[in-house]
Symmetry: C2
Subunit: 356 residues, 2 copies
Amino acid sequence: MGTPSGGGARTPHPRAGTVGIKEVARRAGVSPGTVSNVLNRPERVAPATRARVEQAIRELGFVRNASASTLRAGQSSTIGLMILDLGNPFFADVARGVEDVASERGYAVILASSGGSHDKERRHLTVLAEQRVRGVLITPVDGQDDHVELLRRRGVAVVLLDHPTPRANQCSVAVDDVAGGELAVRHLLEEGARDIALVTGPSSLRQCADRRKGALRALRAAGLGREALREITVPDMNARAGEGAARRLLEGELPDAVFCANDLLALGLLRVLLQVGVKVPDDVAIIGYDDIEFTGAAAVPLSSVRQPTFQLGRIATELLLDECENSAGHAHQQVMFQPELVVRESTRRLVADAEG
Amino acid sequence: MGTPSGGGARTPHPRAGTVGIKEVARRAGVSPGTVSNVLNRPERVAPATRARVEQAIRELGFVRNASASTLRAGQSSTIGLMILDLGNPFFADVARGVEDVASERGYAVILASSGGSHDKERRHLTVLAEQRVRGVLITPVDGQDDHVELLRRRGVAVVLLDHPTPRANQCSVAVDDVAGGELAVRHLLEEGARDIALVTGPSSLRQCADRRKGALRALRAAGLGREALREITVPDMNARAGEGAARRLLEGELPDAVFCANDLLALGLLRVLLQVGVKVPDDVAIIGYDDIEFTGAAAVPLSSVRQPTFQLGRIATELLLDECENSAGHAHQQVMFQPELVVRESTRRLVADAEG
DNA sequence: GCCAGGGGTTGACACGTTTTAATGGCTTTG
DNA sequence: CAAAGCCATTAAAACGTGTCAACCCCTGGC
């Protein structure tokens, strides 16, 4: 049709001429109110008029202006997703679950990544508040939920993501990281390890703190004290940090086994150890956490602790939307999934040593 | 397991009482216009008044309503990010780059994932249009840019992400996939492979089509025809699909080498081959694509073709925001990065075979 | 033939912000 | 001293949609 085929890349008219509800109304020969009704309560408008309006909408290429709707309605159809790190497949998977459910139900997702910075978290939450998001899914940087509390006070629904809470006044979805840490270390102990190292991120991260707590609990159950656990703390939770941890381990005598708070750490650690000729699991056993897709294909397939990642995102979003749309009858829930131990090569046959 | 142990916490007042600009104005003893000035052009307001207003803002916990701003201004400070698949670390990394730049410059990112579905893409783009996003970064599902054209006509800035375009009227940022495919296969040939298999996704995906084209080009340069290339097409681009491809390969005689259009495919393939006792690279060499973080730590470290993923996201976003904010002086650019071959164990020492 | 009733449609206002032209107070200049 | 100019501030008008009360027309009952 009217395609001015070719032409320069300039926009001739700064005014792009937005078609609004009233232009549609004029074309269909009805009032703006009727158009609005067609959009929001089609059943209230006579079939014939509705058809006329719908045709006008198609012809003009009308697209409803969400800003105006939101302004008028006082609430948007957007939710915020605030995670720690997109680079971590764990969170990428969670995000997939979130996006899935949100888009099924007609919500848009605003993505924000704190990168573990308390300050960035605050800035991002401000943006989300400005956008008047209907709700927020958040993996908080630390335990002090002041930011979160602020949001709730403003009437924004909040679901804590991968972060359990004792408080009954909000929803949370999490996986039991203490149990997970315990699973991992108990497994190492059962396989015969005695001298275990823990490679973990900053203890301000709840995930790290909890997994460590679980690890200690397993030791205690085996009659060992916390001195049995060598702790190596790294600043980040990625493969590079894992490599750093490996180098630090190599400076002294190697432990029997290493529990990494995260598969990325474990993969980095594994890479370096193999490089310098350390045998895994013969010299050192390694277990990770998250069971991301790649652990099974690692140089030495990694044992890990599996979490229902995708489900985590889905359930959290469903809870959030329920709270948003049905806030009257909504009962807050604290959902806690149980993690699952996945044993692969990287921790097998320590037993031989123990029995030998 | 879900423990619905939550107590019932109701919201007593449905009206959360939004504080607006005029409430702030009343408290500070000025007019709404002045408050707006404090927010948008602080230099125009007398220091004393400004201080009063700022205090009122703090005391009332005022947060600007982006919907109203957007409505009034006719343009938002949001951009849309439309990718193929969050589950692919390649895109997750791109998204990181995007989020990075966007948040630096005060923009919010709306995330949408098409999952390769043309229909989902359309639906998501509609939502983005409703949100009146300032611009869109998109990895289109296929070449026919009808959806994209529609957006542009509506005045939305668009940058094609990981998708080159010959047209001079829009920006694009991509990596030369033909060159990448050629790099990969030339490498395989140089290492002595003669019977090569290509494992790739649907040819409607530009990435797949281009990498295949590059592969054929490398063969031709070596004096070989397209019959030298066995092609296995899989429906998805993930590890599971790679496993399926491996099983199909195992039905017949194994090739010397396999070029996978994607590291995920390669990892899945590798896993199955190793499981059934095939030696890599001795029996079969494997090369992937993307060089995601995990390939180096794979059972057999995977050769791959590296792309500047994070940079891709950053540059694309910078171009987009430039086009948004400076549309007058904006010159459209078609940025094309060159990929880089990364050789690891999975393709080494085929030479021995060739020489032997 | 009049009134009640109801479905379909309308018009006007409100949502919270930005912007523009106008206002008022003050200082400077001739 | 009057006129002119400047600065800080204000009042009012938009932006596009949703809602609500009012309205119109038509049907059916008495």
